[in-house]
Symmetry: C2
């Protein structure tokens, strides 16, 4: 039982049958064909030799098959992590050097170790720091940067940089040296790939293919572009005219071995590796959850951390670079009918065979074609509609998203995502630090109590009820005091204050401290404090403290009950001996209409 | 109107009367007497010449009188900020140098500017980052460090350091050189001051004094100790035997002028100044709120930032060091009958007169007596009972508190408070990232729906209701998906899922995204998603999106209404044509007892 939790392969492996094998094998063949150009392209994006992309698609897939809980997720190099790897390794050494490749390897090992540790200590919740607007804004901005960075391959010029500004500046400077044959190949590939993405699938369906088959064939668009590109360059001898090609890709399988341990270098890369881990995990787990839910299966996020950690670690010891579960390849794997993670292992074998037997045919593959496949893939990640949706839904979420996008474009991926996370935390604290409070009154003729500003309700002169619409915790504890002290300052006749707590899900030690201070201050001011409709778990916890003993008033199960008891109490005092002044009209026993309430909250 | 908001003096100054003047003057005289030894002692604690403590009690008090909103708060040097000043300035230069004094001045200017900026931009909410357990733990640990750091003056030896470890180590090393006369004076002062604090007030009351008078006289204990100490040293010529005394304190009023502007130095002190600002603000606003509430008055936290900023700035331009509102002196001010901030201005005049006319009498004042007053004052801040209370109430709050205490003792004040803030944020996110969810069923014979694990309720095979007990925001959005996908994975017969939202106070963009993904995934899995009891403000916001149009099911006002509609729908399907299998016993129309529910949440 325990073992199967950490090795899900024992679970699905036990019931593995011939029919499942055939389904997985078919899916693996389809994914392999799609993965070959993608792996080469992403290695290029990461600034690494093309074979590194293939290496990152072998061992990591087998590791995920052993440890992963998603049955359809396909891991390997992805666009965003390739960009982040380029940014991090670029701080260590220039592209093309052995140190740069080594830095990418170390990033894979470090991020694998971080993911593994997070999984073992069940710290998947850390991914929650990345709110949806931050992730979505980050992906959009990264997509723009990636697309811009690939333009140099389409034009056949030199350019570089990790921010949009640098990329545009260097591109503008080198644009006059554009290589026409490269531009023709790149431009044709772009047009073809956009056409495939938009028009090919409907065409195939009109030709009588099923929706699923049409989708899978359309996804193979890059394979056609690659084949055509190779044929064009080889046939027309375009490499002699300045079209950059892959040239010799080593036919060897990846060498195994850990990267050199240099503590300073590893420490320098630690922060980048942590960001790569978090972003990779968030991307992968979102894809995994969506696919699993479609089949009424589920994934275990903490075990996913272990699986992705194992995948990244094995990339780090087999000449790869950081990997995670990718959206496009997983969707193809799902559509192609993969039923177990074994499909991933078969894909790994396919990529290994391709590395050994297919690489000679890639000699003439133009970089412009690979760049075109990247541009078309990442532009689908740029989602400006989502920016508008978030703007409409919540200005505060929009602020976090806009800050992420702008910081990513202007300062690069790492500062971008850090800015977004910090700002969304700050805004969350700000929003919950001023929660919704409502003074409530009785809806005439009922036992319901509603906001006096939204409903026609009846209130009492001597008893005031405030409904708190938020958990009480450190971010808003002081605000509660502020509200209460403000109200009692404005209401000199007040005798009882009731805090109505049906939406208080939690009271932390700061909230408790505030309640204690409020109780104490109100006592000095001659006002009795009561609570009503406190939730069970909150009450359980309050019972462990002195608060309930010290409370000047009572805790009522229902608000109606509270008002019955307190109105009666006030009435007794008002009409009792020696209380002549208090029995004036508009006194406690005669509730006044809400319209007459002078205060404002 | 607008002007009076930023200058509260216009408010209370307009109605200032002779009677108020007399009350304020009496309070000012009492506070002045108490403040003289305190100001000298805190300057000593901050590692500054004694007159700096007096200087910090003149202009800042006048600034607060102009801008402050609390009628009883008394500002000036306080123990915690003195310790923090020593830690920050000690990083720049050794105590006793001109650079050290300059650093303290710059800290006052910087922290004044930070407070002022926070007030003008209404960023008082930033103080909410400091949760009660963190502040309380920080004060306790600081109290221990301060008391330990003063032992050297009691023993008459040299020692130092900003962490408990360093202090104890240097003390242990120099203990053999203890100066006996100093130890006698210090020990006697300690015993006397502890006796005054515990026994003197009851004694005075037994002698027939009122509670208030007894409290005020007992607070003046340090003044008696100072007088006795001066008399002992002067009479017995103890300074010749190695008892350290204040010697000449300049009789001048503070020189005015801003500290030298050296960008590097100012940048180096910026972080420390920010921490000093936050801690000072939290301490001051807590005291101010408590006192104001006792008189049914209120303070404005954002204007308090401006007032404390002005006070700190004026300390920085009048040879002082960072100041804030102090607990002990404010309590004395309150008890002595201060009615307006004018009492603070009168106190400033008192301290100025004392600086000019009283300082010659302080020549023989032994440092050991001042150290004893500090030790007695700060040990009242050490509150181990609160540590136990927090442990009992919440393990998570306790963790933040314990981390703050340990980090402060081990690594000093700045790392201590930073660790506490980071950990409490992390724990808050962790706690809300796994909120309480409950599967609910109908309490038989009522319209109420309760947790199936706490109550005997009736549920349906085809309809599942989950009550969410937390706002949906980025920290828990993914957890909600996890819960929902888990449930539908376990319930192959499920047709309808209702999310019951009476305690959902807010849905941010991440929460909305999760709901959209859940809706989409459930659609693919053949389950209809409904919401019930959604709050008004949450519903208003959802209406601005496509979510309600895309929702496969409906939004019901009440849970009962939802179950009526959905049970009827299932019943129609179950008994309709071609649904023979579904009409088996235990089907949708016949609700099963909660005990039979197999899942676990």
């Amino acid at each position: 039982m325990k073992l199967a939790r950490y090795f899900p392969i024992l679970d699905w492996g036990a019931g593995y049958r011939g029919e499942t094998f055939v389904n997985d094998l078919v899916a693996a063949v389809i994914v392999t064909i799609m993965l070959i150009p993608q792996s080469l392209a992403y290695a290029l994006l990461a600034g690494l030799p093309p074979q590194i992309g293939l290496y990152a698609s072998i061992l990591p897939l087998i590791a995920y098959a052993v440890f992963g809980t998603s049955r359809q997720l396909a891991v390997g190099p992805v666009a965003i992590l390739s960009l982040m790897t380029a940014a991090a390794a670029g701080k260590i050494a220039p592209q093309g050097t052995a140190e740069y490749i080594e830095a990418a390897l170390i990033l894979a090992v470090l991020s694998g170790a971080i993911l593994l540790a997070m999984g073992l200590f069940r710290m998947g919740f850390l991914a929650n720091f990345l709110s949806h607007p931050v992730v979505s804004g980050f992906i959009t901005a990264s997509g723009i940067i990636i697309a811009a960075s690939q333009l140099k391959h389409i034009l056949g010029v030199d350019a570089g940089g990790h921010t949009l500004f640098e990329i545009v500046r260097t591109l503008a400077g080198s644009a006059p040296e554009t290589n026409p044959p490269t531009l023709y190949i790149g431009g044709a590939s772009l047009i073809f790939l956009f056409w495939v993405r938009k028009q090919f699938r409907p065409l195939l369906k009109r030709l009588g293919l099923s929706d699923k088959t049409a989708t899978i064939i359309a996804r193979a668009g890059p394979v056609f572009a690659v084949a055509a590109g190779i044929a064009a360059v080889a046939g027309l001898n375009l490499d002699a005219q300045g079209v950059k090609i892959l040239r010799e890709v080593p036919q060897d399988l990846p060498a195994l071995g850990a990267p050199r341990f240099a503590p300073d270098l590893w420490m320098q890369l630690l922060g980048s590796a942590a960001l790569i881990s978090l972003i990779g995990f968030v991307e992968s787990v979102s894809v995994g959850q969506t696919l699993a839910a479609k089949k009424r299966e589920r994934i275990d996020p903490n075990q996913e951390l272990i699986a992705l950690g194992a995948a990244s670690l094995s990339a780090g010891v087999s000449s790869g670079y950081p990997v995670t579960g990718g959206l496009a390849r997983s969707a193809v794997n799902f559509d192609a009918g993969a039923q177990t993670p074994a499909a991933g292992a078969f894909t790994a074998i396919g990529i290994a065979l391709a590395t050994v037997f297919l690489t000679p045919f890639l000699f003439y593959l133009p970089q412009a074609v690979l760049a075109a496949t990247i541009i078309v893939a990442v532009l689908s990640l740029v989602d400006m509609g989502e920016v508008i949706n978030v703007w409409r839904y919540s200005k505060s979420d929009f602020a976090a998203m806009a800050a992420t996008i702008l910081a990513t474009l202007a300062f690069g991926v790492e500062l971008g995502v850090t800015t977004g996370v910090a700002l969304s935390l700050l805004l969350h604290l700000y929003n919950t630090s001023r929660p919704h409070f409502a003074v409530v009154g009785q809806v005439p003729g009922t036992q319901h109590y509603r906001n006096i500003e939204r409903h026609a309700v009846v209130t009492s002169e001597r008893v005031l009820t405030i409904r708190i619409d938020e958990s009480l915790y450190f971010a808003n504890a002081r605000f509660l005091e502020d509200v209460v002290y403000g109200v009692i300052g404005e209401r000199p006749d007040l005798r009882h204050l009731v805090l109505m707590c049906p939406a208080v899900n939690r009271i932390d030690a700061s909230g408790l401290e505030s309640l204690e201070r409020i109780n104490h201050a109100l006592k000095d001011a001659g006002v009795t404090l009561h609570l009503s409709e406190v939730k069970g778990p909150v009450m359980d916890r309050l019972k462990r403290t002195h608060f309930l003993e010290d409370l000047t008033g009572k805790v009522f199960l229902h608000q109606f009950e509270a008002m019955e008891a307190l109105d009666a109490d006030c009435a007794r005092t008002a009409f009792g001996p020696g209380a002549a002044a208090a029995s004036a009209p508009g006194g406690s026993a005669a509730p006044s209409q809400a319209g007459a309430y002078p205060g404002k909250l």
